[in-house]
């Protein structure tokens, strides 16, 4: 009778170990995924912040009667297109990300065309209101890039956890898959040289 107890005990211990490991891993994945969702929300918030600045910018620029209408309508259209695309964080497929990216890039392009055009209007360039809007816009672009970097960092943490043994086994069971990055920032592939 006692001889049976020992293997049963060992099996029980192993089973408990595997169970707790499985639960721990699952919870870890969930936490990492929530981290990603939070970072994605931050990315969208910052893009939204940029979109919110645009009406003010357009109104300021509009005051200059002869300002090129084409450039202005370009910005307004790109803005409405960009704000119409929102992605649910649980549904961050590469295709959706690309779509989002494209819409936002169009807005960036339209905005930079606007800022280039402004160079032709010295009065507008010196306008205090415009200068502050420009500073805010630059700040928002900076926040966007920080939010994107943080998002990619959390994806990296999630993916590397997911792909390491033995987590990859559990991930298969639970149906957690690799998540895609929000496109590497252009220029990230040049090995940078910095002198202190």
């Amino acid at each position: 009778m006692k001889k049976i107890l020992i293997p049963v005990g060992i099996i029980a211990v192993v089973a408990i170990f595997i169970y707790s490991k499985a639960v721990g891993t699952y919870n870890q994945f969930v936490q990492l995924e929530e981290g990603i969702n939070g970072q994605w929300a931050e990315v969208e918030t910052q893009y939204q912040r940029r979109a919110d600045l645009i009406p003010n910018l357009v109104n300021t620029v509009k005051g200059y009667a002869d300002f090129e209408q084409e450039t202005l309508t370009g910005v307004v259209e790109a803005r409405s297109k960009a704000t119409s695309i929102q992605i649910d964080p649980t549904n961050l497929t590469p295709e959706k990300l690309a779509e989002f990216q494209q819409a936002q890039d169009q807005l960036s392009g339209a905005l930079s065309r606007l800022l280039v055009t402004v160079e032709k209007y010295p009065d507008l360039k010196a306008n205090q209101n415009f200068l502050e809007l420009q500073a805010q816009l630059e700040g928002t672009e900076n926040r966007i890039s920080v939010a994107r970097r943080n998002f990619n960092e959390s994806i990296k943490g999630y993916n590397s956890t997911l792909r390491t043994f033995p987590n990859n086994l559990f991930a298969g069971w639970y149906g957690f898959g690799i998540r895609s990055y929000f496109e590497a920032v252009a220029g990230a592939e040049n090995a940078p040289k910095v002198q202190f």
Partner: protein, 263 residues
């Protein structure tokens, strides 16, 4: 897996790129002993560095807001803004959770400067104001190579803006101390007193001599105490010639606030 197999190699490649071109080596390590003013270029004289350090240190001691100045040669291919955020984040300028750090970064050879505000300072020093500090205080002075004056005036304005926003709060650190003391007590009871009691019982029962438990845990406890003592001793030794010394950055975070310019 949720994604088709075509995408996987791309992901792996992206992952590889991110790893290989990790950013760590492009950023100087946080200064040791910690300092708020770090001139890697020798642009400022030793006295100017000391004066700024004392000024910023006094401010950090009274308000807990950490304003740090870093002068570099060049930020290479980075945007100066991006470099400032990552450097501030890596050094952890500002308190953890409060994120009340400000980094004034100047790349002398690039002729660029940037004031990066920690997440907690974005409200006090909004981007438009940071821009004004840069355009009105820093750039005119830097153009004439008056680097010290520029930094001195800029920090004056920042202090004015930020004063009253964050106080050095003793309440929180006191709470932390109590927690630490409780934890230590619990630790001692669990691992020192309980084993002693248990061992006594063992001895009464004639089950053999004293177990190794007590000695083991006491030695760990002693080792901890000793190493702690060693650390604080090290800090004490780092006292600089000026009034006090800076205790170190707190782990603040940067979300992309701030503004810059070039001269």
């Amino acid at each position: 897996m949720r994604y088709p197999s075509v995408i996987r190699p791309i992901l792996v490649l992206a992952f590889f790129f991110l790893q290989v071109f990790g950013f760590a080596q492009d950023f100087p390590a946080a200064p040791n002993p910690p300092r708020l003013v770090n001139d890697f270029t020798g642009t400022l004289s030793a006295t100017e560095v000391d004066q700024l350090e004392q000024k910023l240190l006094a401010y950090s001691d009274s308000t807990s807001t950490q304003v740090s100045i870093v002068l570099l040669g060049s930020v290479g291919p980075y945007d100066i803004s991006d470099y400032a955020f990552q450097l501030g984040e890596q050094w952890g300028i500002g308190g953890k959770g409060k994120d009340n750090g400000i980094l004034i970064l100047a790349a002398i050879d690039d002729r660029k400067v940037f004031i990066a505000t920690g997440r907690g300072m974005e409200g006090v020093v909004p981007d438009a104001l940071a821009k004004r500090i840069v355009t009105n205080k820093i750039l005119p002075n830097f153009k004439m190579q008056e680097y010290y004056q520029g930094l001195d005036q800029a920090t004056d304005v920042i202090f004015k803006l930020a004063s009253g926003e964050y106080k050095a709060d003793e309440v929180m650190s006191e709470g932390n101390n109590i927690g630490a003391v409780l934890f230590l007590l619990l630790f001692i009871v669990l691992f020192v007193i309980l084993p002693i009691i248990k061992n006594r019982k063992d001895n009464n029962n004639h089950m053999g001599g004293k177990g190794g438990g007590v000695d083991f845990w006491t030695s760990i406890l002693l080792a901890n105490a000793l190493s702690g003592g060693g650390r604080s001793g090290g800090k004490f030794g780092d006292f600089s010639s000026g009034g006090g010394s800076f205790g170190g950055f707190g782990g603040g975070s940067f979300g992309g606030g701030g503004a810059g310019g070039s001269w």
